[in-house]
């Protein structure tokens, strides 16, 4: 199995032909993404090599505190990237940190307490990566949805405010919609799992030679966990963010 997964340096270099293919499409269609594609590819190579060595060390040391530090590092990074993509939303780093931190911690606690996972880096770190990146993407959707909804439904909000509604009452419909839209990708991927996609976790376990029925059990837990975390993150991010669209005089701040 390991031999079949061996990728030589030559093979790795040759695989850049795929990136060249993507750049060619961009060049032909004049989309203007060549620079982004090349930067993304370079970043992926550097980040993955670095994290590969870091993970090899962490897995080898197998220390509970180091595992916790790694979990905190991943949550921090996911929060920072969600904040960077929030388009200047007030307190977006704090909001992202709470949403991703609470969602991820709760999921890890349930998985460890139920005996599904052991607190060892080889089990905790990959799962944390999955949860926090899913949560980060969910929060990105929430931030975009809130901004669009507040722009599109500006007059409706103004009418409600003019009638004496507070920020929460005026935003109730938008909050419901943003949580629904934030959760939709996780629900959709849960619906189509096995039919459209074979998730990385399950495929990885099968690659490693684990019995498919065991891999599937694991994947079921992961899918349920991702839906739960998407719900928690959506809820926290929406409820902590909507007030950013109002000033102290309870007036809309968005044009």
């Amino acid at each position: 199995m390991n031999e079949s997964l061996e990728i030589s340096n030559v093979s790795l270099v040759l695989s850049t032909a795929l990136i060249i293919l993507a750049v060619s499409v961009d060049f032909k269609e004049k989309i203007g993404l060549s620079k982004d594609i090349i930067i993304a590819a370079l970043r992926a190579v550097i980040q993955l090599f670095v994290i590969g060595y870091v993970l090899a060390y962490i897995f080898q040391v197998d220390n509970a505190v180091l595992t916790l530090v790694m979990v905190a590092f991943m949550i921090y990074n996911a929060s920072y990237h969600a904040h960077k993509n929030s388009n200047g939303l007030r307190h977006s780093f704090r909001t992202s940190l709470l949403a991703i931190g609470i969602g991820t911690s709760l999921a890890l606690f349930i998985l460890v307490a139920s005996g599904t996972l052991d607190w060892t880096p080889s089990q905790i770190v990959p799962i944390t990566g999955m949860i926090s990146s899913n949560s980060m993407n969910t929060i990105g959707v929430i931030y975009r949805t809130l901004r669009t909804q507040f722009q599109d439904r500006r007059q409706q909000i103004q009418e409600k405010l003019a009638l004496g509604a507070n920020a929460k009452q005026a935003s109730a419909g938008i909050l419901r919609d943003s949580i629904r839209i934030g959760m939709t990708p996780s629900i959709s991927s849960t619906k189509t799992v096995g039919l459209v996609s074979l998730p990385g976790m399950m495929s990885g376990l099968m690659f490693a030679g684990i019995d498919p029925t065991h891999a599937i059990r694991y994947q079921i837990v992961v899918m349920f966990m991702l839906v739960a975390v998407a719900a928690i993150s959506s809820f926290i991010a929406s409820y902590l963010s909507y007030q950013s669209f109002y000033n102290e005089q309870l007036q809309l701040t968005i044009d």
Binding site: Q155, Q156, Q158, E159, K160, L161, A162, L163, G164, A165, N166, Q169, G173, Q249, L250, Q251
Partner: protein, 219 residues
């Protein structure tokens, strides 16, 4: 009436946006129960003035006192329940007329008074059957009349009307104008009414004109 303390006192109120002066040094005293028409060309600053009085915008200069208190120090939700702003093309939200008329009760944490809603609908020549109608099945005039009932489910002290009849036919305009005049006379509701129709001004105690952001009292 004039011996009472004013309900509004505007002192040197101005509003600037994107380095453009929309409203300049507006000083105005309004007493409870007065009816005031505001006229002036489009873009002159009338709506901005009304939005500032309705606390939907904050002045960039000057202060506004409501019943002796600076409005920036009053809780916005409480203020807006007493000083009610009515939009030019009011929007009905959610699904049915009932959803809209129940909203003022919902934000007060009270139960919906259906009898009061029906009485309100009848005042604007609509009936109880409208309660269950979808907001998408109404004409512009019906929407505007229902929005007025929504603003009046709990009678405010002040009603700010921002060209609310500008896109309506004569029948709808008369229904709204007459109902508001009746509330002004019988309930001492203070009314500020922006209009492009100079004929409307005859029904009001005072007439103000706003031109290039400067306010002048005509009557």
């Amino acid at each position: 009436m004039q011996t009472q303390a004013p309900i509004f006192q505007l002192e040197q109120v101005g509003f600037q946006m994107n380095q453009q002066q929309i409203l300049k040094e507006v000083s105005l005293t309004i007493h409870a129960g007065e009816s005031i028409a505001i006229i002036g060309p489009s873009g002159s600053g009338k709506s901005t003035l009304l939005k500032i009085i309705g606390s939907l915008l904050s002045p960039t200069e000057g202060v506004i006192h409501y019943q002796g208190q600076n409005i920036s120090e009053i809780v916005a939700t409480e203020y807006r329940k007493e000083v009610s702003y009515f939009f030019q093309n009011a929007l009905l939200f959610d699904e049915t007329v009932r959803d809209n008329l129940a909203f003022p009760a919902l934000i007060r944490d009270e139960s919906f008074d259906e009898e009061r809603a029906i009485r309100g609908l009848e005042k604007v020549s609509l009936d109880a059957s409208y309660l269950v109608k979808s907001v998408h099945d109404l004409s512009g005039g019906e929407k505007q009349r229902i929005a007025l009932v929504r603003n009046l489910m709990y009678l405010p002290k002040v009603l700010l009307m921002d060209e609310v009849t500008s896109s309506l036919d004569a029948t709808n305009r008369d229904i709204i104008l007459n109902y508001v005049r009746q509330l002004n006379t019988e309930e001492s509701l203070t009314v500020l009414w922006i209009t492009h129709n100079n004929d409307d001004t005859q029904y009001f105690d005072r007439v103000l004109q706003v031109k290039n952001g400067v306010m002048e009292e005509l009557k």
